[in-house]
Structures are given as C-alpha cells and as structure tokens.
Symmetry: C2
Subunit: 216 residues, 2 copies
C-alpha cells in the first residue's frame, strides 16, 4: 500500500491513524502542498488524483492496482478489507452515530478551512489575512459546539464509548489544526479530554504531523 500525503494534511493524518490502529504498514510518499506551487497540482499527481488533493492511496487490488481519493472512502475501504481493530462499532445504530460525528467534522469543518479554500479567499475574494483567520476559527467553533453536544451524549473515553473509532480519527487532526492556529478550546471539555486520551495511544501519537519524515 502507498499513501501519498503531507505531514500537515488533516485528511492524510486521518488515514495514518487508521492504518496505525489496524497495524497496517504503507509506504508514505510526501506531496509538498506549498513548494513549487503545490506538488499536488503537478501533472504526475493529476494521474493519481484529478482532485489535486491529498491523500491519494494505492493498493494492489483483485482487479489490478486500485487508486483511491477521499480520506473517509479510503478508511471505509481499509475497514472492509482489514476488519481487525474495527473503526466502527458492530451495531448498525452505533455505526450511524459514529459516521455522523465523523462527517460533522469531515463535511462541515475541514472543507471550509482547507488550504486551497483559504488561498482562494485571500487571492480571489480579497479577504484580509485577519478575516481569513476569523473565518478559520468561526467554522471550527460552529462545528465543535455542535460536536460537543453529541459527545456529551455518546462519548466515553473516546468519541463513542471506550473504543477509538472513525470519529476520533477525524477529531484529532481537526484539534491539531485548531491548536496550531491558537483557537481557545476551553468551551469544549469533551473534545479536550478525548484529545488527551488519544495522545496516550501510539496509533495516534505516531501519526502526528511532527512525527512524519517530511515534517519541517
């Protein structure tokens, strides 16, 4: 398996955690999102992912080489192909709750604070750097406020009960981003508590951006 990612990419960080939780190894190939106008925009990367986003994931499948984009699709693939250390609960209703929490981050927070979106805000919409940061913080606050309500109902040690799941896989990279940009997390006690719990696990700690070979 090959994972094309970048140390600071939240979506690649999610896949790294999933691989670690399942004790799967992959070759990690760095795609620098800033240098040379962003290596994700190169013609060679276009062949891997016409969306020009990391992560891209390659596995040798039954029908030849399988190339996948979209972190949650990659993680659901890993979950189905390698069911050990499941990332979703076994009960249908519980699985739905976990997916709902994961998507509350992956569909409502992260897409708005993605690098290319921030770049477009400044370069094309004429938004100032200060307003860009206000935008960035705003969508995390909106998303975390709602997630905190769900966590008060469903969390145990982790987002859903006492087992790390797809929800934690999405949450931890988002908290990393929030911390990186000095967002005050005091209003989110469950999120902060779960962040600390996850840091205790090697699967999460070893997936952290600063632990990657391309960190700078």
């Amino acid at each position: 398996m090959k994972l094309y990612g970048y140390w600071r990419s939240s979506a690649a960080y999610r896949v790294r955690i999933a691989l670690n939780l399942k004790q799967l190894s992959a070759e990690h190939i760095s795609v620098h999102l800033v240098n040379n106008g962003g290596e994700q925009n190169s013609p060679s990367f276009h062949q891997l992912n016409p969306q020009h986003l990391v992560p891209a994931f390659v596995d040798s499948g039954e029908q030849g080489e399988l190339t996948l984009s979209q972190s949650l699709a990659i993680i659901e693939y890993l979950e189905e192909k390698y069911p050990q250390s499941s990332l979703l609960p076994s009960h249908i209703e519980d699985r739905a709750i976990v997916r709902s929490m994961a998507q509350a981050i992956a569909c409502e927070i992260h897409p708005l604070d993605n690098l290319r979106v921030l770049q477009y805000l400044v370069k094309e919409m004429g938004v100032s750097e200060a307003d860009k940061m206000r935008w960035y913080h705003h969508w995390i606050h909106v998303g975390f406020s709602a997630l905190e309500v769900q966590l008060s109902q469903y969390s145990g040690r982790f987002c859903f009960g006492d087992t790390p799941s797809l929800a934690d896989i999405c949450l931890i990279p988002q908290v990393y981003n929030a911390k990186r940009f000095n967002l005050d997390l005091d209003a989110y006690p469950n999120i902060v508590r779960i962040w600390h719990e996850c840091q205790q696990l090697a699967a999460f700690a070893n997936a952290a951006p600063e632990q990657q070979h391309d960190a700078s």
Copy 2:
C-alpha cells in the same frame, strides 16, 4: 421514519433519493431554511440536530428513538438496515470507488456552497454578491472537472456502471444546484448524460425539489 428537510436542501434531496430507491417511506417535515431567520436555528430544532442543519432523520431503533444528522451517515444507515436495492456495489474495491465519488461532491463541493457559508461570506467577509456567485461556480467547476475524469473511467449508465448508487445520489442534487445558478455544464458530458439518465427514474424524479410539498 421522519425526515426533517427542506425542498431545496441538497443534503435532504440526497436522502429523499435514497429512500425512494429503497422504496421506503418516511414522514417529510419541512424546516424552512430562510423564514424566521431560518427554522433550523430554532431551539426545538437544536434538540434534533445541534448542527442546525438539515436533514435530520429519526427512526425507531432497537435502543429507543434514533436521531441522526449528516446525509451520508443517514444513507449508510439505510443501506445497512434495509439492504434491498443496494446503494453500494458488492465488491469492496467498487464500494470504495463509489464512496470516493460521493465524497468528492459531499466533502469538496457542497460544503463550500452551502447556504450558511454563502451568508457568512457576504455578511462577515464583505464579499459582494457577484463574487459570491463566482465562488459558488468556482467550487462546482473544480469539483466537476475532477469528477468528470473519474466518470470517464468508471461510469456506465450511471456514475459507477449501470446501477444507480450513492455517487448518483450525491451528483444529482449538485447538478440541480449548478443548473439553478446557471452554471455552464458543457465541459462535463458524462455528468450531463448521467443527469438525464437519472431523471428517467421515478426515485430521482420524485425526489426533486419542485416535487416536494414545501416547494414554493
């Protein structure tokens, strides 16, 4: 089952198509996204979904009443609970491709063009109405250009082969939005072709915004 939605909400539209494809009926409850400052922001709706977004979905589960948010989580729940007329292929690799296409829309296009985001752009970022439309079109173009490449590889009558799937469920509401805002679709022949195919199916046609009881 109850579906809290709004006729023009793309995410509710997705769930309507999924219910129709599976021949499931639900009570449709309208949450007006514009009137009264947006009914999704009311305290009573907060109880259903603290994210203040439609759709919200309620089913009587084994552990009492189950309330779900996030359209893709709702649809995966329907898929697992009511496997008839499957919305995902049976092979693991094929499922991954379908989810990847669905998320290319649900995680990369729609979140950026959502109502609350457009409102925030104008009211808080000071973006003009003209630039707001440029933003809106831009993210659809970026997303559709990449999707068109995937479709040229995987599509048959529908996004993946000859059976409608989760990918079509996400695509058709996004095309509806593009058409509503006069986006030129000439560069996307596969998308336009699949749009026409889907309109032939009652499950899609009956889920269209104009067919809903709250359309105005």
